[in-house]
């Protein structure tokens, strides 16, 4: 079903999303969209930013509270330790309590799910985030500690190569999983929110269409028309509608008054009639995918 709708996305926006399917315990198959690698990188950078802010804040608090009681080295160690705890628990805590989404993921609209579609267990969350320590933070901190203490360029290059290899892993498997996703058995998906818009079928009009006229199109054309009608009113969209209106009139052999004056109203009326017709046909097992397919073939 959703793959039919996906065809319209590709047609109108040129967007193509990798899809997977999970089946709920109620036996309904739900489509999920894999997150893009760019989105995941952005979410991670956001999380990294929040984490750094928290560490800076902690450092400030330690500095103000304990400035006179302890020396600098102790304060630095405390902050380092807090950083270690915080980055481990930041990801685990948020992925557990807010349905698989850290603040960064929530902003970008991503979610961690169990790859098999089952419940996301705490052990999976712990596993995927513990692996993150090895994937990213360990080589990074080693790299920067070398920077301070000095070390061979060979060692330093090795850390960078490790980092590059691990970050490249999502490019080399079809589910775009990183090492932690393999060990935890998880996927990261895009979970967009969608608004329910007003039903276009609610408007009443005076145009009437014959059955052969309505037989000219299928569901694909109907839903493209729906998308066009839902676009905000601009000069550009009105021009597009006028062109579409002209082509529709030619296709169905429209005899009546030329609806040049208000293409939108005419197309809306045609949309309602076409949808009623196609839904009726679908109910009797004659679903028609598009204008060139035969009814019921699906």
């Amino acid at each position: 079903m959703a793959s039919r709708l996906d065809r319209i996305n590709r047609f109108l926006e040129g967007v193509r999303r990798e899809k997977r399917e999970i089946v709920t315990p109620e036996g309904v198959a739900l489509e999920i969209e894999l997150a893009n690698r760019g989105e995941r990188a952005l979410a991670f950078i956001l999380d990294l930013f929040f984490w750094t802010m928290a560490i800076l804040f902690l450092g400030l608090v330690f500095g103000l509270l304990l400035a006179e009681k302890i020396n600098g080295a102790v304060a630095v160690t405390l902050v380092l330790f807090a950083a270690f705890l915080l980055r481990n628990f930041y990801f685990i805590h948020f992925e557990l309590t807010t349905q698989g989404a850290t603040p960064g993921k929530r902003i970008v609209g991503l979610k961690v799910i169990d790859a098999a579609g089952g419940p996301l267990t705490p052990s999976a969350v712990v596993a995927r985030n513990l692996t993150r320590e090895v994937e990213t933070f360990l080589p990074l901190s080693l790299f920067f500690s070398l920077e301070a203490g000095g070390g061979g360029w060979l060692t330093r290059a090795a850390y960078l190569v490790w980092l590059a290899l691990v970050s490249a892993l999502p490019f080399f498997n079809r589910d775009r999983r990183r090492a932690g996703d393999f060990i935890g058995g998880t996927l990261v998906i895009a979970a967009p929110k969608r608004a329910l818009l007003a039903d276009l079928g609610a408007q009443r009009t005076t145009y009437a269409f014959t059955r052969p006229q309505l037989d000219a199109y299928g569901a694909f054309e109907l839903q493209v028309l729906e998308e066009l009608l839902r676009r905000p009113r601009t000069a550009e969209s009105e021009t597009v509608l006028a062109q579409v209106c002209e082509r529709v009139c030619r296709k169905i052999g429209w005899q009546g008054a030329a609806p040049r004056a208000d293409a939108r109203e005419f197309l809306n009326a045609f949309y309602v009639a076409e949808r009623a017709h196609l839904e009726h046909e679908q109910l009797f097992g004659r679903y028609r995918a598009d204008k060139s397919s035969t009814p019921g073939a699906n």
Binding site: S123, R194, T210, Q282
Partner: protein
């Protein structure tokens, strides 16, 4: 045009104005969808705790309504916006209804009570192999360094040696290391324990993660830790400090080596999952085994935290060798009982 040519145009009468079935369907259920959407938005923001008891009860019912609405909409409606909305709504609700319920504290508690000891009990083989790797390393390290102490400098990274080398005298080792004076609370517990913990945690996590590379690197790393330890044992053995040194090490070493062995066992379990996937695919088997293995490693890191505290603090507070052995025996007994019995009753009760 093909449609209009197939039927003669004069037969077609204008269609009567029909009410849309899908629009009627939407009218009847829209209130429930909106209700569900509002609840979901609140849970996604504040977690399940943000809902009242009444709303919690309503959530599964509303979810089932949305799921059945989706099935119906797929069958009867051609309204694209409606179907996409229901797909997204059902998916978001699904993750909340079947999502994780436990918070961080509860997860940690269940993990310590059941997950960690259970994982350890079910990986006795891997734990044995990891233990043997360290033991073999210790034996080889001892054999190498007991004859030629320059091996010690060769084997040990600069940061860990702490000024100890082939040139150290027995008196230096005894007064500066084994029975070093207590340095005060902050320096011992905070700074030193911290440095040790971070160093050990790095090694332990590496042991675990290198399991992905087929197990050999984990084995080598464990063996190497044993080598270093064996070389130090040889250094002290040559100066007649063997018993005192073992006391000094064992007070925290029981916990620390235990943690290292568990992390290593986690790595080996991952390696086994990849190398011998049995009747599953490698990826499937990795995620089946990976969680248990990660439980071993995560628990191991927590153990290292305990070991760091003992090493940084208690070791110099307990300044006699018999006392240290007693402390070590007590920790060994405590860990042994924990891994042998924790979580067993709970499993039987389920």
């Amino acid at each position: 045009m093909s449609a209009s040519t197939s039927e003669p145009i004069e037969l077609a009468a204008p269609m009567p104005v029909v009410t849309l079935r899908s629009a009627e369907f939407r009218k009847g259920r829209e209130a429930a969808w909106r209700d569900l959407e509002a609840l979901i938005a609140r849970v996604e923001g504040k977690g399940v705790a943000g809902l009242t008891a009444d709303e919690m009860q309503r959530l599964p019912t509303l979810y089932r309504t949305a799921i059945s609405s989706l099935s119906v909409a797929r069958a009867i409606a051609l309204d694209r916006n409606l179907i996409l909305y229901l797909e997204a709504l059902a998916l978001r609700a699904y993750f909340i209804v079947y999502g994780p319920r436990a918070g961080f504290a509860e997860t940690l508690w269940v993990f310590l009570k059941r997950g960690f000891p259970t994982a350890a009990r079910s990986h006795l083989g891997a734990i044995g192999v990891a233990f043997l790797a360290i033991l073999a390393g210790t034996a080889v390290g001892f054999a190498l360094a007991v004859g030629d102490e320059s091996w010690l400098t060769l084997l040990t990274p600069d940061g860990l040696a702490g000024g100890r080398s082939a040139a150290s005298t027995a008196a230096q080792l005894r007064d500066g290391e084994i029975f070093a004076p207590w340095q005060g609370f902050v320096a011992s517990f905070v700074v030193f324990a911290n440095a040790l913990f971070r160093n050990n945690a790095t090694v332990a996590i590496l042991c675990f993660a290198l399991g992905v590379a087929g197990g050999a690197p984990t084995f080598v790393l464990l063996f190497y830790q044993g080598l270093i330890f064996g070389a130090f044992v040889a250094l002290h053995y040559n100066r007649g400090l063997l018993v005192d040194f073992l006391g000094w090490v064992s007070i925290h070493g029981v916990t620390e080596f235990g943690a290292l062995i568990l992390c290593g066992a986690g790595g080996l379990a991952i390696a086994a999952a990849i190398v011998t996937p049995d009747r599953f695919t490698r990826v499937e088997n990795l995620s089946r085994e990976g969680r248990q293995a990660a439980a071993l490693a995560g628990g191991g890191v927590l153990m290292l935290f305990v070991a760091g505290l003992i090493e940084g603090g208690f070791r110099q507070l307990v300044a006699s060798t018999p006392g240290r052995f007693a402390f070590a025996a007590a920790t060994a007994l405590a860990w042994g009982l924990y891994f042998a019995y924790a979580g067993r009753e709970a499993r039987r009760g389920e």
